[in-house]
Symmetry: C2
Subunit: 421 residues, 2 copies
């Protein structure tokens, strides 16, 4: 089996040359053709997905996994519309982002070029196949897709649509290469291909990310867990605090930008916590509180160290009363996963101190943690939310799949004219 | 010994918080104070360096190593002046690089923050200690410095100056942490500290870079070899071509932006090569030629596959006659190290085709490969020249030691208002 992924990667790299030299118009047309193919192939995609769903159910997959795996006409339409959104974005390639004439007359330009070959390693969500391919192609890259075995039939059906669109545009199918054999050893092989793969992006549960980080010889941008904090400052508007708490915890508890920990300044605890605990209870949220929180409801379970470290991905929240803004910041520094932190305050100085001290990928001032998302932040779509403080931090869109390089234009300038003649 | 580097890294991370919250004025003053300390401590630095030089000579170090290791008053002055140049640069931190108001009224800002803790792993050059520290501190980072054992005394003497300046400014010495025990096992330990180190930058020979790439669990930006090509197009100005050839090969053959391969279009071979071969010979450059080159001088050694793959770092160049621009591009694609490639041409279309096809960190049109350097390209100084197409590509200055993150400012906006009330 050795070399199976290498062969795929070599073909993808060769195909990338052609994608990189396509015009912006061609790449846009390609993505629009892919959207049309997905919609036209809805029936066959649904058949393939039903096969995956049946197998997963038979294997005892969790409700959450089945939900991530499921495709229906609305989700297929959603994929097509994401492709069209990416297609419509400004083209990131070739543009000169900066230009400077040096004292010796050479013009130094910075110019965006594709990364090259991007490998996506993901789990149950088949929509990643289409969306990651679209983002990579828009940025002139080829993509190697290794989805989870549970979504194998769905991913193959979606990839068939993408390939049909590539063929119709006279472009090589290998620009979107699916690692169809989902054996774990092929992931290991992929992670060693440092001469062929420019970036690997793992998306999925903690164990997948850890596996990739441990074995990778290729550059990796981690899309890791979100232990997101909401801090209610002593100068908070308490109605705003309650609204952000409910939105952050309840609107979609299974995602990485959901809230996991509530921190409340001691001075507003009595005014805020009784209302907040009641509102959470009314929405079936279990609160695990420290001693300060439990003075308002002694029936709550104690929050342990592990609770403050947890990404519950469920209707559970850890809560704590803090003595000060600094204590809130210290708590966050200790437990943060560098994803998203929120402060609720009407005190501009407190907000700025929080923003300055916190170095997570997104800091929200009086806004919901759920806004840490490519679509919400104006990127159009995202390949994931980076928690690696390198290359890209936070949601990664098309631009994050490019790199700036230098182009120097001269009229024969040299560094050591004395060596000439 | 286990935990030795972890303890250093923990202290450096704690110190980084203080550096990150310094004002721009404080960080500038710190770097200027470091420059003064270096100049004031010249005598003790020279004593330490003489000790390293004596040890290295006794160990039979190469002339190139001894040259890299040597400090003299001019080189110490050079270090001090590099520190002042970095000090004087625009502050990279805190500035809002982009800002957009979304339809729901939240303001989405991008803001530069430090990477955190940067580890430099380098070999004989003691000036890296001062320059890497300056760049990292300017960008609000702490730095962990692991220099080569051959420069241990010099590095310790330089670090003592940097620490004195930190102390004088009331800042923690640990912001610049030297891994004083240079045992190889400590490099291995360093490379595992993925919870503490945000970026590792190896600078040195190929074997060091390979060792780091193989063992790292922390993010690495490789500063790898430069197999730089000069392509003389059929529409080249041949005087320009000759000047760029001599500058690129002769002005400093031991550095990564020196030329290693010459490619000449068949149509200008007869007009260019006899002059070029004579000029190279006059400067003691050995040419290894393919059959096309050897028609002009049959005494030249044959260029082998290994020669076209080699970073000679010496007065040697591989040379080849190519049939076309496309053949030159194909040769470069096969042998490039993604560092620097040069085209000499008066044909704008050929220049653009070359720029478009080549994806090295710097492409030069009618300018010397030796300009791929942070100072020459206007960055002021550089921590190295990245050949990793991720985060930074080409010379890395202060800005490349920061990352953009998101700050969202709202008035209580939520994603799902229907969940409220």
């Amino acid at each position: 089996m050795t070399g199976y992924v290498r062969e795929l990667a070599l073909a993808a790299r060769a195909a990338q040359r052609q994608i990189a030299t396509c015009s912006a118009v061609q790449r846009q047309a390609l993505l629009e053709a892919m959207a049309v193919q997905l919609l036209d192939s809805q029936a066959s995609i649904l058949v393939a997905n039903a096969q995956d769903m049946g197998q997963a159910a038979a294997n005892g997959a969790s409700k959450a996994t089945l939900d991530r795996l499921l495709l229906d006409p609305a989700r297929i339409a959603g994929m097509a519309s994401a492709l069209r959104e990416v297609a419509a974005q400004a083209d990131p390639l070739g543009a000169v982002t900066r230009s400077e004439t040096r004292p010796n007359g050479v013009v130094v330009e910075r110019q965006r070029i594709p990364l090259g070959l991007v490998a996506m390693i993901f789990e149950a969500r088949p929509n990643v196949t289409a969306e990651a391919a679209a983002l990579c192609l828009k940025a002139g890259n080829a993509v190697l897709l290794r989805g989870g075995s549970e979504a194998a039939a769905s991913n193959a059906a979606i990839a068939a649509c993408l390939h049909a669109a590539l063929r119709a545009q006279g472009l090589p199918e290998a620009a979107v290469s699916l690692v169809a054999d989902t054996a774990r050893e092929h992931v290991l092989e992929l992670l060693q291909l440092s001469d062929l793969i420019d970036l690997a992006v793992p998306r999925g549960g903690e164990s997948l990310i850890r596996f990739v980080a441990e074995h990778a010889r290729v550059p990796v941008i981690k899309h890791y867990k979100g232990v997101c904090h909401l801090y209610v400052d002593r100068a908070a508007d308490l109605d705003t605090a309650l609204a952000l708490l409910i939105d952050g915890k309840v609107s979609r508890p299974g995602v990485c930008n959901a809230l996991e920990t509530l921190l409340v300044h001691r001075e507003v605890a009595a005014a805020f916590l009784p209302k907040a605990l009641a509102a959470l209870k009314a929405r079936q949220v279990q609160v695990r509180g420290d001693a300060g929180v439990r003075t308002f409801d002694a029936t709550l379970p104690d929050a342990t160290e592990a609770d403050f470290d947890a990404e519950f991905l469920d209707l559970i929240i850890a809560a704590k009363v803090v003595e000060s803004l600094d204590a809130a910041i210290a708590h966050i520094h200790r437990y943060t996963s560098d994803h998203t932190e929120v402060i609720v305050t009407e005190d501009a100085a407190a907000a700025e101190a929080f923003v300055r001290a916190i170095r997570s990928s997104a800091v929200m001032v009086n806004a919901s943690s759920r806004f840490n998302d490519g679509g919400q932040l104006g990127l159009g779509a995202e390949i994931g939310i980076s928690t690696t403080r390198l290359h890209a931090y936070g949601p990664m869109g098309v631009e994050a799949l490019t790199i700036e390089r230098f182009v120097v234009r001269g009229q024969g300038q040299v560094r050591h004219p004395d060596l000439q003649g």
